[in-house]
Amino acid sequence: MPEITYREALRDALIEEMDLDPDVFIMGEEVGVFQGAYKVTEGLLDRFGEKRVVDTPIAEEGFIGLGAGAAMTGLRPVIELMTVNFGMVAMDQIANHAAKISYMFGGRLKCPIVIRAPGGGGQQLTAQHSHSLDVWFAYIPGLKVVSPAVPADAKGLLKTAIRDENPVMFLEHLALYNTRGAVPGGEHTVPFGAADVKRPGTDVTLISHSRMVLFALQAAAQLAEEGVDVEVIDLRSIRPLDVETLVRSVQKTNHCVIAEEEHRSFGVNAEVAATIYEEAFDYLDAPIARVGGVEVPMPYSKPLEQAVIPSPEKIAGAVRATLGR
């Protein structure tokens, strides 16, 4: 399989789906002439024209609402939020409009919109531009929320998202765009609601998603040298959550650590931990450990920022503690 970047995988998915379905169009800030703030949409304006690659004013609530309205007539907008942080000004249209269209109208309308948004920290972008807001969106019934860690999943999940009949929050990570990985050739889709075992192991279940999967794998490699066999699970899909894969793993390893970039409290990790306690309590030999971001607004200074975000070392430390090593 050819190795491509996460960015290229996303772009390939967009191109394939736009070639396949004339109702798919791209809209967002700087997606066209500028070629994408993070170059995901590079070349697409030339290829598809300005009818299908639409540059918007800086008006996130407006253009996400506009996309949702277009979706209500059956078009399939793929909206790019330059960063997920700007999603906060569009939250009314995402959570209180797009997510509610199907239900509050008794299923008589639907809203197949995809909102792509990179988030996360680690780029010295400071307090207002470094959020991991996955849980904000995952809290809302009516939204689907997916977040790929590797190029193959980036492509496969995005194709699935574009074909889905519901609003999908597609959460990317700024630090992953240049990462490389193998992507299956030909038609490649990844179903929603299916976590992926990125590294099989027997001693402890290490759950994460997005960039933290890469850190979890680094931690697992380190721990392997110490004789600890870690099973790394990538959630991939936050809502719906693949409870079965998580429970099956914990039943095997009897230990669980959850590592997420979000603030440690009230996050995806809390939902995953509670679910495992409910479904697999009797299989646990130790309390579940959670590794998360320190609860401060993201600072600028490099050492301070690095101290906020979970590191492979911190994750490995939590695994050791859970195993009593």
């Binding site: 609402g65 059956g74 309308l109």
Partner: protein, 347 residues
Amino acid sequence: MSQSQEPIDQATDTDIPVRDAGDLANYANDQLIDFYSNMLFVRRFEERVAEMYLRAKIGGYCHLNIGEEATVVGTLKALQEDDYFFGSYREHGFALVRDVPAGAVMAELFGKRDGCARGRGGSMHLVDPDRRFMGGYGIVGGSIPLSTGVAFAIKYRGGDEIVMSVFGDGATNIGAFHEALNMASLWKLPTLFICTNNLYGMGTSVDRASAVTELWKKGIAYDIPGYKVNGMDVLAVYQLTKKLVEEVRRTSEPIFVECQTYRYRGHSMADAGKNYRSDEEVQSWRERDPVENFRKRLIEGEIFTQKDAEACEADVLARVQDAVDFAEASPFPDVAELDRFVYAEDE
């Protein structure tokens, strides 16, 4: 604007033409009677809704169109069947005039299975995609970006439909309104924005909420022409809206209309409508009543007789009763289906 068509009065700083009613002779008798019976139907339906609310058949927030019938009927009667409509949470009357079955509207208010939103939406979320009635929305101004999105889709597909996007005076102060108007004008999206100015956003009068009280001006910053019309006169509203609907269709450019109207009741059923306005003010608007005054005009103009008016009243009351009967007879939704429609069902 077209030079070949009859010029449309456009509001300006110095001269806001509040259009007077057109000459009855310009309309077929059937059409005039249709306007009247629609207004009366909205009035009687809403009165019955208020009664049903007090009898606890209807719950939640409930906002009535009483007093606004001329605006409701005059705007929607100007819209073609294929055109799209978006409303706010004060949309019962608009649904009825768009021919959403009255039984399905009342059943929705009752929270019943046969409601137009299957009991999931209630008063603020009436819907009927078959009639391109794209819904009522509960967040002030929130529907405006959605409505411009449908206009975007029309243009994307090369269609010749338009979108009528109706909202209240309060919505003109929220960001979504400004973002949507900017994009509608920037991209020439065929949208007729209709602001039903009933003078109050809940209990806050327009002059206490908006730096610009001439609301028709609020599109001008985005190069959207603005008009104002007497929203208590169905012919005035219809005459202007009809022209503007076709103007939007022809040019694929948005236009903004302010309909000056009034609600006799409070903001919702929970508001007596007393704290923020005087009885004299309410009375002065009641004297301009769109339904009563139009009935008098039709009788004076010999369009119909007092006897015809009484027959119309009886017919309307019977239709309202049918809607109530339908709603009463419909079962509540099955709780076992509580989570149906959270996500779109497979085709």
